[in-house]
């Protein structure tokens, strides 16, 4: 299914974009071994759709080698944030693309080895010279061989050469921090070689990806943009009737709803399985449904073919309130940003209600035919992440623990008792290879409890870690209900007699437990041990960081010029309900 708009639509739209109206900016370079005309325009429009002002650089036809090898090339002058290097099989194989068996197996192996080394060399040079992320495509596996069906019997035949090259290239890239492999072969498989590659276009203009598919390619590549800028979705809020199952449970009854091994119930089962897989990868699921709560809960708890059960939902609002009120409660309970929520509902009225009142939420028109639900979900590029951390994978479980925590809060008399009984343990560690991706992710995503809202990519954090004048710490927070994972980050610039807090943030997930008091006291304590006189910090207000606005004055910092300053002659208060360990 190709639901994309025409290329000409994007080309005209691109001319109308005013990138100055967007706060987020991005420089994208496109390098290719063949004509990729139009790709830049589609990327610009798709960036503008997600409120990113994007400027592009497109290398001249097949000039990617020169662009990367020449250190004063226009590519480096452009200083991209993301660079896409899109290569095709024909150009890498040269004449072997047509005559693979003109040389023997040893030479074929040597050929692939050489090409692999060239690519590694290009990657290394690029990484050394540029701060840009590099996304390099793998090679499309040829489907034709002059040997026809016998090709599979040939040792290291033309298909095997490319499979081998892809696998070795991918292995190499796996260990490179800012380099990623884009599955171009998968793209061509998804849409079909005979559609994507069209001889008419190829002979006419050396076009190897037909114009009709350039928008789909751009859609895939935008996944990287969304990941780098952390504009991805963390939570899917779902309707129940005609979304997770067919029919209306209040009318059709427990036995009457469509959910099970026979059509159309099997389409809903399949949809639920795909949602469960996203849940297992760390996407939070929630329910917003107009229903008799008991009817719906019966299905969720007892229906033999239900895949998603109560434990998979971080929050369930099943009642007769309007969906907007429910949505607001979900947002409050889960404490996540509106812009990280996706709402899936079959009813256009409900979608319109949410879309007009809470436009930051992405509402999805899933249509009324369950046949399409799965493909709509799988074509989305909103859940991608350049790094899936352990914390991501555990997120669903952590929200469940939080549900228990809230129930417990309801059962104790006051907040102090609650905090004491939570048994909170904080482990503060210096950043290391394992925590760097998570630390970067937190700086990119945390909006509310964030003193300066400075956004850092992994490369930036790595630079700080290697800088003796910088102290990068993160904290893992556990309590009797579970492990919240790495949820706090502090970055401090150490000068001779004073320290400057560059970044101080905490995930909103653990707000309200005075954990921040513990982290701050640890920084101050450490400064004191190193005989520092003052710790300075600044608060940079944003639309979202009101929760931390009074943090500095509340904790004994005094305004001095541009900074808030804590003099280490003062006492450092350490909260009693926390057990803090510094490792």
């Amino acid at each position: 299914m190709n639901q994309e708009k025409k290329l000409s639509h994007y080309i005209s739209e691109a001319k109308l974009i005013d990138i100055n109206k967007y706060e987020k900016k991005l420089q994208i370079a496109i390098l290719g071994s063949f004509t990729l005309n139009g790709l830049a325009e589609v990327i610009q429009v798709k960036c503008s759709d997600i409120k990113v002002g994007c400027t592009t650089y497109v290398s001249n036809y097949n000039q990617y080698n020169q662009d990367i090898l020449n250190d004063s090339s226009d590519l480096y002058k452009f200083s991209p944030n993301i660079t896409f290097l899109i290569l095709d099989t024909q150009s890498i194989l040269g004449s072997l693309y047509y005559f693979p068996y003109s040389i023997d197996i040893t030479q074929r192996k040597k050929y692939v080895e050489e090409k692999l080394n060239n690519l590694k060399n290009l990657i290394n040079i690029f990484v050394k010279r540029s701060n840009s992320k590099l996304v390099i495509s793998n090679f499309v596996i040829p489907t034709y061989s002059p040997y026809g069906i016998y090709d599979s019997k040939i040792d290291y035949g033309i298909k095997e050469m490319i499979i081998d090259l892809n696998s070795k290239l991918n292995d190499y890239i796996k260990n490179q921090n800012s380099v990623y492999c884009y599955d171009l072969n998968g793209f061509v498989t998804t849409y079909g070689q005979n559609n994507v590659f069209d001889y008419h276009k190829y002979f006419f203009g050396d076009i190897k990806i037909a114009f009709d598919y350039i928008p789909s390619l751009a859609h895939d590549l935008i996944s990287y943009v969304k990941s780098i800028l952390s504009i991805n979705k963390k939570c899917i809020v779902l309707d129940l009737d005609d979304t997770l199952w067919g029919g209306i449970v209040g009318e059709d009854g427990f036995e009457g709803i469509k959910l099970g091994p026979t059509p159309p119930g099997n389409a809903y089962v399949e949809f639920q399985k795909r949602l469960l897989a996203l849940h297992q990868r760390g996407i939070i699921l929630a329910i917003n449904s107009k229903n008799n709560e008991q009817d719906a809960l019966d299905v969720i708890r007892k229906h033999p073919h239900m895949i998603l059960r109560e434990e998979h939902f971080a929050c369930m609002k099943i009642n007769w309130n309007d969906k907007l009120a429910n949505m607001k409660e979900i947002v409050n309970e889960l404490n996540i940003g509106l812009d990280s929520i996706m709402f899936i509902d079959d009813d256009p009225v409900n979608r319109e209600l949410i879309h007009t009142t809470l436009p930051q939420i992405l509402t999805i028109d899933i249509g009324n035919d369950p046949v399409n639900f799965v493909s709509i979900l799988m074509e989305m590029n909103d859940f991608d992440s350049l790094h899936i951390t352990d914390d991501d994978v555990r997120r669903g479980k952590m929200y469940l623990e939080d549900k228990n925590r809230k129930t417990f809060l309801g059962s104790v008399n006051n907040l102090d008792d609650f905090l004491k009984q939570l048994d909170i343990k904080i482990e503060i560690k210096n950043a290391d290879e394992f925590s760097i991706p998570r630390i970067s992710q937190l700086t990119l995503k945390t909006n509310q409890f964030n003193l300066t809202t400075k956004r850092y990519q992994e490369e930036d954090i790595r630079k700080f870690v290697n800088d003796k004048k910088m102290l990068v710490e993160c904290a893992q927070v556990k309590d009797k209900f579970g492990d919240n994972g790495i949820t706090c980050v502090s970055i401090v610039k150490k000068e001779d007699s004073e320290w400057i807090i560059d970044t101080f943030l905490m995930s909103c997930r653990i707000m309200g437990r005075r954990i921040e008091d513990g982290i701050l006291s640890s920084i101050l304590q450490r400064a004191k041990e190193e005989e520092i006189k003052k710790v300075k910090a600044s608060f940079i207000p944003t639309l979202k960081n009101q929760p931390i606005a009074n943090f500095l004055p509340d904790h004994g910092f005094v305004k001095e010029g541009d900074y808030w300053v804590f003099s280490l002659e003062n006492d450092i208060k350490t909260p009693k309900h926390l057990k803090i360990e510094r490792k």
């Binding site: 025409k6 000409s8 080309i11 001319k15 008419h200 002979f203 006419f204 203009g205 076009i207 114009f211």
Partner: protein, 68 residues
């Protein structure tokens, strides 16, 4: 190509339209093919230099155009 409809006639082409470059023409050709459900041959594609050429080749493929 950002040309007002009123300014387009059969002679519109690389001579009169500054944005009529090989890429734009090719996108146009591709979308005309999709719109009218025809496939131009390579010769026809190479022959197209202006709007009139497009019309002529479309007629050869049996497309009836309202020329008024």
């Amino acid at each position: 190509m950002n040309i007002p409809l009123s300014e387009i006639n059969d002679m519109s082409g690389s001579q009169s339209i500054g944005t009529w470059d090989s890429f734009n023409v090719y996108v146009l050709l591709n979308e005309i093919e999709t719109e009218f459900n025809v496939r131009f041959t390579l010769d026809e594609s190479m022959d197209i230099k202006n709007v009139g050429d497009f019309k002529r080749h479309l007629k050869n493929h049996g497309v009836i155009l309202d020329d008024s």
